[in-house]
Amino acid sequence: MAFKLQMPKSKLARREAIEGYLFILPWILGFLMFRFGPMLYSLFLSFTDYAARGAPNWIGFENYIYMFTKDPRFLDSLRSTFAFVVGYLPLNISLGLAIALLMNQRVRGIFVFRSIYYLPAVTSGVAVAILWQFVFHKQWGILNAILAVFGVQSIGWLVDPKWVMVAFVIMSIWGVGGSMIIYLAGLQSIPTELYESAAIDGANRARQFWHITLPMLTPTIFFVLITGLIGAFQIFESAYIMTGGGPNYATYFFGLNIYFTAFQSLRFAYASTLAWMLFVIIAALTIFVFSTSRRWVFYAGARDDA
């Protein structure tokens, strides 16, 4: 810690403080051993030529210069990752909200729908990626079969560089129930009195939405945006299973690039450089979003956080 910690004066409080440190001691150790330490070490590695054997030699900014000026794969991964985030994130935020608004209506049997919409969001992993690979299959996949009903020609979802990003966005949006459920929780925490008084004042549904629901929901939107941002930049599994980064590096996302660089080419040092680049991008965007939050996120009343 950079700042000086003042231990409490009274005996009882000092005892409580010591116990507090003991309780969080495992976390502190874990943080140092598995987070902070490795972070610093990978930063160090990024300035070396370490390739899984021998000792790391300091080479200064060479990895960074290579990354920015010579590495075509870096550009591929940057392009594909940003394309995915730009395609997925706004859709996830808006569609999730739209569905949550529908779900928030007083309609019989709404729970059944809630389960149906939420289920895809909690299923993930290899099985789901394999499933979607077959859904997107050009010849025998069900998506093209359905589109054929409307006279659409077979699309090579996972083999055509023009379509593959659309396929990834479709697959990810399948899990929109995840943000829906967060919005629902947010919607249900809005005090009903606000709507009652607005109705008395003669505000119609549209006005209620724009002047009550949306402002009250901005903290939730903010949360969905931040977590979605951090998650979307780390997309890996679906691409690893479905395309392996192809076709022609169109889905060579950042995570794939790091994985292949580290564990296939064994270029540990350069993989660390790429990983730090990813971290810097995520951190910069997160901080940027946080800095704008003052202007658009509305917190009702001052709440004292214990």
């Binding site: 409580e16 976390w27 874990g30 209506q105 939420y118 009903t192 939730t220 780390q234 599994e237």
Partner: protein
């Protein structure tokens, strides 16, 4: 805060009371509209699952038929047992359960200890440290994966389950957060009464707070189960021998082995079985998921 999660009922929508028939009609058409929209969405969301089930029961010939076959003419149940003959799938399941059990126990102990410390004990730097804990949520696993690999390789833990289980005992940032949120809501009086009786802080944690925390324990446990069951990256990096693979990695192996032959029915049957525990758990414990979300989403 957290406790009312289970009673999450749709909030009343404020519409002017229906005083005449005209307004009632509007409401009816609106309800029908909502149903139609939700139904269309449901179909889109459920079709992939249906496709998975249907394909898993087809013959290879029926998979490669155009126009596609929606419901197999004959259900080939043998596709399921055939998975166990062609790949050590039972072993994979056992391995996944081993990793998940160790990981869940570790996560519950490590995260609840830290969560209790952050929620109920006052010490200098507490808020700063908790903030540090939250910022680690932003740290991509990729930044630490190479050093982790080197570290575990150095101490000879590669190709064992220790790299999955041991770190769990040091707590997980998000689960620490959930435990802290829960513990913050436990009434002070309980703690005070125990203190007057001379209870040590550790006993207050273990014998008063933990028994009161079944909902959050269940939520964290389920989240952790899903994580360990689905995780692919770490098994990919840490494990080498096939007999130690969890379901995720075994399924990946099965997929690449069949790439040329494209034995879709067996592959889909295997995927179905990999997904089934998660789907069942979801239906039995949906409330717990929602609770986890409520504890995170609304508080932020």
């Amino acid at each position: 805060m957290a406790t009312n999660a289970e009673t999450m009922t749709p909030a009343p929508t404020i519409t002017p009371r229906a005083v005449d028939l005209h307004l009632n009609w509007r409401q009816v058409t609106q309800t029908i509209g909502i149903y139609i929209l939700l139904l269309v969405g449901s179909v889109f969301l459920m079709v992939p699952f249906f496709w998975m089930l249907s394909t898993s029961l087809k013959t290879l010939a029926e998979v490669q038929t155009w126009p596609i076959v929606w419901i197999p003419s004959r259900f080939i149940w043998e596709n399921y047992p055939s998975v166990f003959q062609r790949t050590p799938f039972a072993r994979y399941i056992f391995n996944s359960l081993t990793i998940a059990t160790g990981g869940i126990v570790g996560t519950l102990i490590g995260s609840s200890l830290a969560g209790f410390g952050f929620a109920r004990l006052r010490f200098p730097g507490r808020n700063a440290l908790f903030f540090v804990n939250l910022t680690t949520l932003m740290l991509p696993a990729w930044v630490v994966i190479v050093p982790h690999f080197m570290m575990f390789s150095y101490i000879g833990w590669l190709d064992t389950y220790l790299p999955f289980i041991v770190p769990a005992f040091f707590g997980n940032a998000y689960h620490i957060f959930l435990f802290r949120q829960w513990f913050l809501g436990v009434p002070r009086e309980l703690e005070d009464a125990a203190r007057i009786d001379g209870c040590s802080t550790f006993r207050i944690y273990a014998q008063i707070f933990m028994p009161l925390s079944k909902p959050v324990i269940a939520t964290v446990g389920i989240f952790a189960f899903f994580y360990y069951w689905n995780d692919l990256i770490y098994p990919l990096v840490y494990l080498q021998s096939q007999m130690k693979f969890p379901v995720s990695l075994g399924l990946r192996m099965f997929q690449t082995a069949n790439q040329g032959v494209v034995d879709m029915p067996a592959l889909m049957a295997a995927s179905m079985m990999a997904l089934l525990p998660c789907v069942l758990l979801f239906f039995f414990a949906q409330r717990l998921f929602v609770q986890g979300v409520v504890m995170t989403g609304v508080e932020k």
